[in-house]
Amino acid sequence: MKKTTLLLAAVAAFTALGQAKMANAHDITGSLGSAATAVDYYQVHCYDDGSGPTAHLYVAVINKSTNTPKVSVQAIRDNTATNTTDAVNGNATYSPGIYQPGTDGFFYLTVDKTGAGVANYSLQYHCQTSDQQHNGTDIFQLINQ
């Protein structure tokens, strides 16, 4: 029991650290309209701002709404895509982070949901170098539904 308690405390501590580590990531908040087909679409520009060339884009999503469909984000670069879904709506935990490989240039993010109902979400996103240093990151919304 004692070991389990310690283990849970350690997990909680590391989780908090993980959240804190990404506190410096870029955040953007959006809403998906009530239609089940609603999609938001972003362009992320990654560039070397002096920290080094881009190696990947980090992304995670959180659905801040309760009683709504699950929200997912797909990160796309060239011919590859990666997905992550917030498994639990309305809590304080982001989806697992994903690392979409790619060099300096443009990535695309698609945010969607599994059904009808408004979903308010936040994205954490940051371009990073090969040694996880944050580098130049700009975002532009192309589709808002």
């Binding site: 506190a23 955040d27 953007i28 908040t29 959006g30 809403s31 309209g33 009530s34 362009q43 520009h45 560039y47 060339p53 801040k64 709404s65 060099t103 300096d104 240039g105 443009f106 695309y108 408004v118 308010n120 936040s122 700009d138 532009f140 919304q141 192309l142 589709i143 808002n144």
Partner: protein, 330 residues
């Protein structure tokens, strides 16, 4: 005036001559691995350039800079008090030791060893004494000239896409100064299209769309077609076109809530008082989806977001709260 032997990378312009960029069209390479240059010098009134005969590849010299394809481990120039070495490591490491030598001779040693093309607008009278041990070519010039010159740097890119790096390819020493002056260099970064968001493949595709057709589509009978047209106009690079602005404004009063919502999205892209007023009006829309779009698009309009906290629709209130929370954390 000085005369440079064939193959030299140092170009000294005669005093009184007009600065020239005669090699622009052919010389500005895109990367180290695809440079085929025909460089011919010529002697003309007021100008004197080195003469390089025939088509030749700079790959050997430039790949020395790219690091790793030289037969010897070091590339060096020793000329009786100019001691200059470039290591093979990637990125290359530069070591320079020089005492009381004319700057022109030192720059020639650097140019001939590294393959960096160096242009001097006037023949400097300075002699230099310097000891430099630096990690990149630009630092070498900074060290040698101690910020006493106006410099222009041009970079190219090398390597495969996944591991592309910048390399210094050309330097202009525009002017040198005395001890009391100091000036920063100007860097010309490689002309990579993706440096500018407007030049991304997506934006280029959007820019290629016939705006006239979109404006016509915005008057279509089908509300979905109108909404799609407004949504595309919202992200057009030419959104400041008065016709687009006018169409967006008109769409704010469309009978379809979907069209009005996309008009809000488009309006929010404009950063002026008229757009702010339009968003404030849209926040009073009868349809919650339009009001939600106002909140979703109103990233920096704190007053609007505060107002939306009192909205009759729970989703709008929640979205406003979420936006304000994000703004507060930034």
């Amino acid at each position: 005036m000085s005369s440079e032997p064939s193959g030299s990378k140092l170009f000294v312009q005669a005093e009184g001559a007009t600065p020239s960029t005669s090699w622009n069209g052919e010389f500005f390479s895109k990367n180290c691995y695809s440079v085929n240059i025909l460089t011919t010098g010529f002697r003309a009134r007021g100008f004197l350039f080195s003469r390089v005969v025939g088509i030749h590849k700079f790959m050997d010299k430039i790949l020395a800079i790219c690091g790793g394809l030289l037969a010897s481990s070091l590339v060096s120039a020793n000329d009786n008090a100019i001691n200059f070495h470039v290591s093979q490591a990637m990125p290359p490491h530069f070591e320079l030791a020089v005492a009381h030598k004319p700057l022109t001779e030192v720059l020639k040693a650097i140019a001939d060893t590294t393959g960096i093309v160096i242009h001097i607008a006037d023949e400097p009278k300075n002699s230099v004494t310097a000891t430099c041990n630096v990690a990149d070519a630009k630092q070498l010039f900074d060290c040698l000239l101690e910020a006493k010159a106006d410099l222009v740097f041009r970079y190219g890119q090398v390597g495969p896409v996944a591991k592309r790096a910048q390399v210094l390819e050309e330097v202009w020493v525009v002017r040198t100064y005395g001890d009391t002056d100091s000036h920063d260099g100007i860097q010309i970064l490689p002309p990579v299209a993706e440096q500018k968001p407007d030049s991304s493949p997506m934006m280029q595709m959007l820019a290629a769309i016939d705006t006239g057709k979109l404006l016509t589509q915005a008057q279509a009978n089908d509300p979905e077609s109108r909404a799609n047209a407004i949504a595309t106009l919202a992200v057009q690079p030419a959104k400041n076109d008065p016709a687009i602005r006018k169409t967006v404004a008109a769409a704010l009063a469309d009978q379809s809530a979907e069209v009005r919502a996309q008009a809000v999205f488009a309006l929010a892209k404009y950063d002026d008082a008229e757009a702010a007023d339009g968003l404030a009006t849209a926040l009073q829309d009868s349809d919650a989806s339009v009001r939600l779009m106002v909140v979703d698009s109103a990233d920096n309009h704190q007053a609007l977001l505060q107002q939306a906290l009192d909205d009759s629709d729970e989703a709008v209130r929640a979205a406003a709260a979420s936006k304000l929370e994000t703004l507060a954390s930034q």
